[in-house]
């Protein structure tokens, strides 16, 4: 199939948008894995929490089943709008990350990685089922606003080459890359970032140098959680929200992203997310039945022939 220029352009845009979500998930997972050598299967649950927090902050939603509904609460939410959600969701994610590091991760730092996987997998089940039983198993519609900062984002806009493209998605791509960029700068340019970087290379060395690594641990974990929650908010603004999204849409892509990019590398997670996003969007637009198959085989080939990933050091995560 010969690709038209406009098709290439729309593949790029769709790929960027999907890749941005993967990258956000991947950065969060990779800094936690790199710094603490902690494998977090509850990363999808953080995405889920972000999506539901976004839903609750964004608008008042009618409930139709679940514990809240049966105890007489029929609507839930604040009508806060999307900008409020943009601020609140990462803060909630950050807070949950702090708690999780303290009460779930810390007791397991010295346990084998299978124990870490299992306890966080169990935790993910509990979070998912709690959301389902409290708020209800409904599927809620996505939470895109019609205007933001006075600009109408509900109508598609005409772009050169691409043609019509949903303007909301352009906004999403912009804001996601802004956050990705800021995170990158924070890790590359600040003292905190130095600790993270050093930690991903050699956490024992950092400890020996007398840097209070435990406090940094909490902060790194919380930052990772905040990014996952933020990814959930972005996802919720373009896709429906239901209790299964954490496991079905976030968990596996997050892991694929970090191994393609190289575990422990922030730059790698960004590149990995974008590469995977582009593969998915290019394949679905051409040979859709083979999209997922090609995606997984690509990751397999990467791992076989370039095991250190695009930017990683091969030691982390082994």
């Amino acid at each position: 199939m010969l690709l038209l220029q406009s098709e290439i352009a729309s593949i790029l845009l769709n790929g960027l948008q999907q890749g941005a979500i993967y990258a956000l998930l991947g950065i969060g997972l990779t800094i936690i894995l790199g710094t603490m050598e902690f494998l977090n299967l509850a990363h999808g649950a953080l995405y889920l929490v972000g999506a539901y927090t976004g839903l609750i902050v964004f608008q008042e939603t009618a409930l139709s089943n679940g514990l809240l509904y049966s105890s007489g609460i029929t609507t839930l939410g604040f009508e806060g709008g999307f900008l409020a959600a943009l601020i609140v969701v990462p803060i909630v994610g950050f807070g949950i990350g702090l708690l999780m590091e303290r009460f779930v991760a810390e007791p397991f730092y010295d346990r084998p990685e299978t124990d870490q996987l299992l306890v966080t997998f169990g935790l993910a089940l509990i979070v998912e089922e709690t959301v389902k039983n409290v708020i209800g198993g409904n599927t809620f519609q996505s939470i895109a606003p019609s205007t933001i900062l006075g600009v109408n984002v509900s109508q598609p806009i005409s772009l050169p080459l691409v043609g019509l493209f949903p303007s909301w998605r352009l906004f999403i791509i912009a804001i996601a890359f802004l956050v990705i960029g800021l995170t990158y700068l924070a890790i590359e340019r600040t003292d905190f970032g130095l600790v993270v970087q050093a930690g991903t290379h050699d956490s024992e060395m950092v400890r020996i140098l007398g840097i209070p690594i435990n406090r940094s641990y909490s902060l790194v974990f919380a930052l990772g959680a905040a990014l996952a929650a933020f990814a959930g908010l972005i996802g919720a603004s373009i896709q429906t929200v239901s209790p299964q999204i954490g496991t079905q849409q976030a968990l596996v892509p997050a892991f694929l992203t970090i191994v393609v990019g190289g575990a422990g590398s922030v730059r790698g997670a960004i590149a990995g997310g974008l590469v995977l996003g582009l593969i998915i969007s290019a394949m679905t637009q051409t040979y859709s039945q083979w999209a997922q198959i090609v995606l997984y085989l690509f990751v397999a080939l990467m791992l076989v022939f370039k095991p250190e990933g695009l930017f990683g050091s091969a030691e982390v995560g082994e």
Binding site: N14, G137, Q141, L164, S281
Partner: protein, 448 residues
């Protein structure tokens, strides 16, 4: 196949020995036991029913993406159980139902979780059949599950009453003797929708399809192609498969040629449609073309409520229908649950009563006789006027509703869709040697 004819199944042996044992014991007391002359038939499946209870198995999704739909089916089932035992609802109006159990036996139920996964559903049905001695299994909210469970039920010689399943295959290539479907199918959706759309949008249009790449989606898109082409003289530009469970359709939607396409058909069900429809509207496709979602359900209408305004589709049934049966069902359901039932609840309720009524007519739980009672049975009073459960493929011949999404101002908690028209069963359907039925071979009753 081999074992149906040659080997006596384990449970046959068990039942026979159990029945013999029971007869031996109660024989001392001078009574052969069993209700209503049941003992005249040989043991098969979970027949004969012993004791004064009869067990129905309600096998619905309780975890996973369709748990909400499963919960509403379960409400319909429990209402049916309650009415069968204590009277009320349609039980008071249907012939043969007494409100005092079925054949004098109290109806009990067991529940299972299908998780919308065929193997899990079979496992759960197996438990109901083997441990709980369920005489009838019903449920499901996907065609994959319905096909998997009805296959098991045919092997086990236990009746299956389909709930939500819309694929042509359920009563087509994968049909079985022991299963009956009250719901309509993709083929009938095509027949009902095509004339309405040709009327509404005109003739000689170009349409473009996206379809979920599994049993239901494939039959749905084939039926849409057939009837849009035949009825309206429309021309299909392309039909693109999308993997089941896709959540972001933007890449597929980017590919839709805006200039040439007049109608975009989104053959997605439930959660898939809840994503694809809003995303199509977000991309502004509704400005260049008409969008059609062939099959509506509440789950999808709720989750895409902001995007369904004016969108055509079909539905099994709707609480806004004005006939007496509908109104009485909606009333009893509302009393219990404070809102209107979805069509899943109606099918669940109907299918349970339908089975019970067939047992009463047959005067036995003996499955082959119950099946013969259901085959070719004409009935009404299930909310859709006159219906026939056809003998050749076990597909109900019934009216189909064409629906249109309500605008956001019009919408209430219960009212998300408006009824556009009811397509009479005389204008849809197909002969026993045509359409999906041509591929159907029902298999054996088990008493041959």
């Amino acid at each position: 196949m081999a074992r149906d004819t040659t080997a006596l199944s384990r449970r046959d042996v068990l039942k026979a020995s159990g029945a013999a044992g029971a007869a031996g014991l109660t024989g001392l007391a001078g009574c052969a036991g069993g209700g209503g002359g049941d003992s005249e038939y040989p043991a098969i499946g979970n027949y004969p029913v012993e004791g004064d209870e009869v067990v129905f198995g309600f096998n619905v999704p309780q975890s996973g993406s369709y748990s909400q739909e499963g919960a509403d089916e379960l409400r319909g089932y429990n209402l049916a159980k309650d009415h069968l035992n204590n009277g009320g609802g349609w039980v008071d109006n249907w012939d043969g139902l007494s409100g005092d159990g079925v054949l004098g036996k109290t109806v009990a139920s067991v529940e299972g979780d299908t998780a919308t996964d065929p193997d899990t559903a079979r496992q759960s049905a197996q438990r109901m059949i083997n441990r709980d001695n369920a005489i009838m299994i019903t449920g499901g909210s996907s065609s994959g599950v319905a096909i998997a469970v009805q296959g098991l039920c045919q092997e086990e010689k236990v009746q299956f009453q389909c709930c939500i399943t819309h694929s042509n295959d359920t009563t087509g290539s994968e049909c079985v003797r022991y299963s009956f479907r009250e719901m309509f199918n993709a083929y009938m959706t095509g027949q009902a929708l095509a004339p309405v759309l040709a009327e509404e949008y005109g003739e000689d249009l170009n349409f473009y399809q996206l379809y979920a790449d599994y049993s239901w989606g494939q039959t749905q898109q084939a039926s849409m192609e057939q009837f849009f082409t035949e009825v309206g003289g429309w021309n299909q530009l392309e039909s693109v498969p999308t993997p089941l469970g896709t959540s972001d359709y933007s890449s597929y939607l980017s590919d839709v040629p805006r200039d040439e396409t007049d109608v975009l058909v989104l053959n997605h069900y439930g959660l898939d449609a809840a994503n694809s429809l809003p995303q199509a509207i977000e991309a502004g496709l509704d400005e260049d073309m008409e969008i059609v979602v062939p099959l509506y359900n509440r789950l999808m209408a709720e989750a895409a409520s902001g995007s369904i305004d004016g969108i055509f589709g079909t539905a099994d049934w709707n609480w806004q229908l004005e006939d007496d049966a509908t109104q009485s069902f909606v009333e009893v359901y509302r009393e219990e649950h404070d809102r209107a039932p979805s069509y899943g609840a109606r099918i669940a309720y109907t299918q349970t009563l339908q089975y019970a009524a067939a047992v009463e007519r047959a005067e036995t739980f003996y499955p082959p006789e119950v099946i013969r009672e259901l085959e070719g049975h004409d009935y009404s009073g299930a909310g859709l006027g006159d219906e026939t459960m056809r003998g050749c493929d076990h597909q109900a011949q019934r009216d189909v509703l064409v629906m249109q999404g309500a605008s956001e101002e019009e919408q209430t908690e219960d009212k998300l869709l408006n009824i556009v028209s009811t397509t009479s069963r005389d204008d849809i359907g197909y002969a026993c040697d045509a359409g999906p039925a041509a591929e159907c071979e029902l298999g054996e009753y088990g008493d041959e």
